[in-house]
Amino acid sequence: MSSPLSVSSSISQPAASSLTWRRLQRNPISFAALCVIMLIAAAAILAPILAPYAPDATDPAASLQPPSWHHALGTDEFGRDQLSRIIFAARVDLLVAFAATFVAVSIGGLLGAVVGYSRGWADTIAMRVVDALMAFPAFVLAMGITAGLGNSTTNVAIAISITQIPAYLRLTRGEMLRLREMEYADAARTLGNPTWRIVLIHLLPNCLPPLIVQATLSTGFALLTMASLSFIGLGIQPPQSEWGVMTAEGASQIVTGEWWLFLFPGLAIMISVLAFNLIGDGLRDLLDPRMRGLR
């Protein structure tokens, strides 16, 4: 059953990562995007050094100030420095996005590899569950799960993760169905390797390229999901500053003229999502020009 939502299976032999890197450099936009993400990640890691203020330090005397020398990106109604909050927020945002994606790739990839290799009834059941889960648009599912579990940082990450698992599962399973028939898989079996070894060591690594592409795109969308959840009141809670919450709160005050409150965190989201998408696109072209997908 070919659902159009899945990233269709691809060729992609074990690709030398150095080659990938060199070819990525030839795609200037994707390369620039990669640099942007690295910069943001660096800022997140070095937040305590880079941020001019403590992110939660309130200062009633300096509330709602527009950007100035003292506060490069202005302050919010508590007098908290926007720049510092945005830098610290990068930690929460990237951590949640990466963690959710990593967990989803691990679970989805492993399960997909196992059911794809073993086939049989486990495969049938898994695919029915995946079909059912994929029928829910990611945001709707995330909304339901966050409302059910409560909107702590962990729960938002869990919700985002659950929405991603089916895509990885289906992707890996598709790859595995193809790879298990390859000659080198036969060779590994003939040599008497245990099944787990064949799946994990010999075959799974070759499923990775399409997974990586999907994961890059998903990481970007995780940021958007967080933002939209914040807008409907299910976002990550204070005091952790998070771009989505900051944008949503700022946007509700769009009319009072404090443009810096929504513009800068909104830009942070936009630039990150853009970058993740461009990297994903670049990787996709590189690893398999015929791959297509959504999300």
């Binding site: 109604e77 508590f78 409560g150 204070p238 769009i254």
Partner: protein, 541 residues
Amino acid sequence: MTSDTRRREFLKFAASSVAAVTFTGTARLAAAQEKRTLTVAWDADIDTLDPASFKTSAGYTVQANVYDSPLMWKVQPVEGKPGVSQSKPGEIEGGIAQSWSFENGGSTLVLNIRKGVKLPSGRDVNATTVKYLLDRGLQSPGYMRLLFPRLLGVTKPEQFKVRDESTIEINMPAPSPMALDMMALMNNAMLDPDEVKANATADDAWAANWLKRNTAGLGPYQLVKNQPGVEVVLEAQTDHWRGRPYFDRVVFKYVPNEADRVLLLKRKAIDMVVGRSTLSPRNVKALEAEPGLKTVSVPDTLCHWLCMNTQKAPLDNVKVRQAINYAIPVQAIIPSVLYGFGTEMKSPVPSLTPGYDSTISPYKYDIAKAKELMREAGFGKEPIPIDLAVRAGWQPHEQASVWLQTELEKIGFKVSIVKETEATFRQIATKGDHQLSIESWQSWINDPFYHLFFNFHSTAKGTNSSFYSNPEVDKLIDENMHETDTSKRLAAAKRLQEIVIGDAVWGHLWYENWTRVMRSDLVGIEKRWDSYERFFSMKLA
């Protein structure tokens, strides 16, 4: 190639005509414009219109305009605010009942029904129809059947007695100082008994299901359209006993997003935003400067406080609760969170309520004192982790929680702010699982004992949000709830405030003003204790 060319031509044509249609059409249609229409925005749907049940603000607002109650709270012009009137403690005027009197030393309330008032069906309103609405309130599932026994001691329908065609008596076991206020509650809405009975079913004798979505009464307005998520339309009754309202139609537009409500006001696409917390204080402040709009803000009985669960450690320690009260930066919160649309809370009793005493509370922002109290309570070495729950989307509460967090961390707490959806918040609160939370309450019956009972009596389950239990308080409330000697009652109210403040049951935050933004020529704004807008008095200057 020809087919391609044709297709392209068609697309070009289609695109240009769509553009023409969409961009030129700002002209408003004249239909229904001759009628004087007031367009307002709100953010809620009507959950039920059953007068006897408790409902959303949208349900109450419509009910307050499509029904009449036996009595009404009287309003007086607010000094310095032309076009605005407000109710005063103890002042009542006639409604369906033109006048009233007390007999049997105050334990019988006699209502004299207004003559010549007709139901929509053409039948006259008389004592029997009034008895029906009271009977229904007492017996149908809802809110009134809790209030009648508690406030008036009325438990049986026989206590509502028809004396003659235009007189009904309410026989209470003892005089009640709240009897008149009770008759002003719009939950006691004048219904057409025949219409209600016609829609009753075997297992729904009071037609509660039918009355959820239908109205059967007479008010200044009639409900002509209720489309959830779109709009609600009221049309004026031309022959209402109050006279014909100025506005022939009131259109309520459902606008869930606050930024949109502000922009609609600024663009004058709506005349007013109705409902509580439909505009954040910050947006109201920004709209104050807007030409063509005005802000009406008058003191109200709406209390907001830091709720401390007195059954949960460390909040079961009175010294900790006192320390928290000394750590509340209310002077910073009022300007920065409420933008001045509220006043400092100095007592658990609202400032407009009889018996309010602002001199009892010793609390003021004093971190040194708070730290000392925490030390006395045996805390201060290890940070105490504590949750502070607020409702998502209640902007002043969310903002106040950040101020509170900063200050409480100075005196030894490690505060996690927990944002909950309205439904989750209520459920956790009822179960008693909140530690700290920001609560709010408004007493529609502006009486200190009504207020104190629901918030501090140990038997007031579901509304005593601090789970406070003090036999002395219970006893004082029980003894004075129905006390008719005013000076004795006020003395007891003072004593109760002393105890409750001494026990630091609430973390005092603020009394919120009743604040609405509207077009600047709108006058006849009447604010009653229940705070729902009445449109029959509004007009353009």
